[in-house]
Symmetry: C2
Subunit: 145 residues, 2 copies
Amino acid sequence: MDAIDEEIIRCVLRNARSTYAEIGEAAGLSAPAAKRRLDRLIATGAIRGFTALIDTQALGWRTEAFIEVYCKGHPTPAELHQALEEIPEVVEACTVSGAADAMLHMLARDIAHLEQAIQRVREVPVIDRTESVIVLSRLFNRPRL
Amino acid sequence: MDAIDEEIIRCVLRNARSTYAEIGEAAGLSAPAAKRRLDRLIATGAIRGFTALIDTQALGWRTEAFIEVYCKGHPTPAELHQALEEIPEVVEACTVSGAADAMLHMLARDIAHLEQAIQRVREVPVIDRTESVIVLSRLFNRPRL
DNA sequence: CTTGAAACGTCGCCGCG
DNA sequence: CGCGGCGACGTTTCAAG
């Protein structure tokens, strides 16, 4: 994990479909060397995968919300993980400090769909109640780093 | 935008570095046809780009937080956008319903770094105060859809 | 790092609905 | 006329030296 690896990460963060020659150029390496570095970053888990940035608006998923989750008792992170992963509208889930136990990021086609998905969250036995914050407009969403 | 395009999107969401032959196989198309579809999805903006999923833990960015932002007066989304985009630790920003005006998702190396970045957020003239929720553990983070 | 063979990206052309 | 398949050529990948 050195400056060259960071340069490679910056490159695939900007465009995951870069060729190894392009990655190598960005990092000052030949294409085969760039491939070995990238393969190693994937093998060690520093890079978890490659994905596309989808315009959810264009696909009709226009409704987004942050949901604060309050639990009954003290469920383990693993229990929450398992229960919430079953709900595809939950895009992101974290346990958090403060009054709430967890924070969810949810994505749905419309308000009706969101309501139905939140209903499924509330039906998780260990979850007591939720507090929703609806997203009005997404200002930006930066590729990390 | 039909079922074939959705299949292509699911494929590149799962692995943005898929070859056109793989994308085509997933969608029931030949490689050139898959490329034409993918190029069109990019051209129309349905696909905004391709990026890597980085294990931020492995790179020493271990501290994450959600920040509720309360503003003075009624700034436009554009004003907030411009001010917040200057702060690289702000990974995501949305205007929201409810008591707060905006919700930020921030990423930092450690608590000291986060504190310093939140300080910069507070120095934005239009921002009145912030409320931080520190992420304890990330349960999951799903590629959307 | 360089090499050479295999795989892939890319383009033009043609056929179909 | 848009859309998909096919074939061909230049480029990229990738393992061996």
